[in-house]
């Protein structure tokens, strides 16, 4: 009757290894998702000076809006830490939105080919940021659920897997139900 404890031992080890590997995979997925957000944020920071350069000739009456975009970009580039960064990026998103809203009043501007393609690039980047954030938050939720539920929490506490932080949503995203799931 030696084989009963042997089978139990093998099963326990297999579960142990499987769970540990899953936790590692989830943690790496979060890191990768965070990296995705950063890539897109960087891309947006790079696009904005081009946009301002093209737009400013047309929008001489809207200096205030343009200045706000430039300032928001400056704050976002120099922001340190996840919370401050999220706040600055959300402010930048808002300022860009008001810029595009104002641009609707300038038919010449909308007809300009390079403005149109810059606007498409920025819209794409905005979307990529928000989808990257969505994927990041979903990944965090899966990871946190796993390390906090029984029985995988045992392994998580032994190997010090800590819960990850969500990327805080901006004001405009508060209505999205997914944000309340935590």
């Amino acid at each position: 009757m030696y084989w009963i404890p042997a089978i139990v031992a093998v099963a326990v080890v297999a579960w142990f290894v499987g769970t540990y590997n899953r936790l590692v995979r989830l943690r790496n997925q979060i890191q990768n998702a965070w990296h995705q957000i950063e890539v897109q944020l960087k891309r947006r920071h790079d696009l904005i000076p081009n946009l301002v350069e093209v737009v400013k000739d047309y929008m001489s009456y809207e200096q205030e809006t343009l200045t706000r975009v430039i300032e928001a970009r400056g704050t976002a580039v120099s922001a340190k830490g996840a919370a401050a960064q999220a706040k600055a990026e959300n402010a930048l998103t808002e300022s860009l939105k008001s810029l595009f809203a104002v641009a609707e009043n300038y038919p010449d501007l909308k007809a300009n080919q390079s403005v149109a393609s810059l606007q498409e690039e920025l819209t794409g980047t905005e979307n990529k940021i928000s989808f990257a954030r969505q994927y990041y938050n979903d990944s965090v939720m899966t990871y946190n659920n796993t390390i906090q539920s029984i029985p995988s929490n045992v392994i998580a506490s032994v190997f010090d897997f800590r819960p990850s932080e969500y990327f805080a949503a901006g004001e405009e995203d508060k209505a999205v139900p997914k944000a309340d799931l935590r």
């Binding site: 995705q36 897109q40 498409e120 819209t123 794409g124 990529k128 969505q134 994927y135 990944s139 997914k178």
Partner: protein, 366 residues
């Protein structure tokens, strides 16, 4: 959708002559006549086809099931091939020769389908790779959706066609390809395009593309082969008679069997292919909505596609199940469920609307 008959229970718009609510199955007592499958006009007919619950598998389980299904497909086809080869071989006198020839044929076919299925499908439909100068928005939207899905960037292709359609191919997410028609690009808004691409990305992530492409190439090839066989049968029979020898009456039974087999094989393969892809369409619709968090984008795209036509270059029966909307047939609620590659587009739209909480709340709570 042209609905002017709101369901009293859940508020869904139904066709004026519907006897039952399309979404929650609530009967409209004595108010109309069923226009659903099998009900003779003028009777208070059978219930609407039930909106069966579509199980939302996690992607890794859906992918594992697609890998299993693909293996099963290759295995069943091997069995069918050997059976067919045996019958043909016996008909013409040499069982061993028939078996070994079909085995070789199978090996060629199966490896072609597995290793270059996607490029075959792409070239059948005249797809060319999308250029970042020509289609910046398309590439942006695809990149957005690959981020939302957490996948590597697929290759993006464009088909020059007026019809509005799209499909995805590729054995695994790392080799995925997404193709859309220029008609789709020119007539969909950004939001709608996003919905379509998200649907295709869901097919990629759940590896529906593996199974679908394999089925497309194998089913296409088997249909071609049995066509050949049928023609050969008549050809050989004619020659045998004029030669005055060989064959004889003993072979007639085998000949009949061979014909039956050759007729049934592609039919069975096609039924298999169809019964599976309908579930996948609902699943990809729902999973795509999870990526965009906006089911209405796809709903409105599907509405436009069904209104303006979904023809694509090189459309054929072998690949029809790959597309987001079937390019060969339009599916209404009456379409016989078993023979369809896709669920009725209007039911897909209703499900998507219900996900967004439009006119379907009461039903979802049940």
């Amino acid at each position: 959708m042209g609905g002017d008959h709101a369901c009293p229970k859940c508020g869904t718009q139904n066709p004026a002559d519907a006897a039952y609510c399309n979404l929650c199955q609530e009967p409209f007592a004595h108010k109309g006549v069923s226009s659903f499958a099998g009900a003779p006009k003028g009777t208070n007919g059978a219930a609407a086809p039930a909106l069966r619950h579509v199980p939302m598998l996690p992607f890794n389980e859906a992918a594992a099931s697609n890998v299993r299904m693909s293996r099963l497909l290759f295995f069943l086809l091997l069995v069918a091939f050997l059976g067919l080869g045996g019958v043909i071989g016996k008909t013409y006198g040499s069982l061993e020769l028939g078996l070994s020839l079909t085995l070789i044929l199978y090996a060629i076919l199966a490896s072609t389908a597995y290793f270059s299925g996607s490029s075959i499908v792409l070239s059948i439909h005249d797809a060319r790779e999308a250029d970042s100068k020509e289609h910046p928005q398309l590439l942006n939207v695809v990149e957005e959706m690959k981020i939302a899905a957490g996948l590597p960037m697929p290759k993006v292709y464009v088909m020059d066609a007026q019809g509005m359609n799209a499909f995805a191919a590729g054995r695994k997410p790392e080799e995925a390809a997404i193709a859309v028609t220029t008609g789709l690009l020119s007539r969909l808004s950004r939001e709608e395009l996003q919905g379509v691409i998200a649907h295709e990305m869901a097919h990629v992530k759940s590896r529906d593309t593996l199974y679908n492409v394999n089925a497309a190439v194998l089913v296409g090839a088997i249909a071609l082969l049995s066509d050949l066989f049928l023609r050969d049968t008549f050809f050989f029979r004619g020659r045998g008679r004029s030669g005055g020898g060989g064959g004889g009456r003993g072979n007639v039974a085998f000949l009949l069997l061979g014909i039956v087999f050759a007729l049934l094989a592609p039919l069975a393969a096609r039924l298999l292919q169809m019964s599976i892809s309908r579930q996948r369409e609902y699943h990809a619709d729902a999973a795509g909505a999870e990526f965009t968090r906006n089911p209405l984008g796809l709903a409105s795209a599907l509405e436009k596609i069904s209104r303006e036509g979904a023809e694509v270059p090189g459309e054929n029966r072998g690949t029809q199940h790959l597309f987001i909307v079937n390019p060969l047939r339009t599916f209404t609620a009456d379409s016989s469920a078993l023979m369809s590659t896709h669920p009725p587009t209007e039911l897909r739209i209703q499900r998507l609307r219900a996900m967004a909480g439009e006119g379907g709340k009461a039903c979802r709570e049940r």
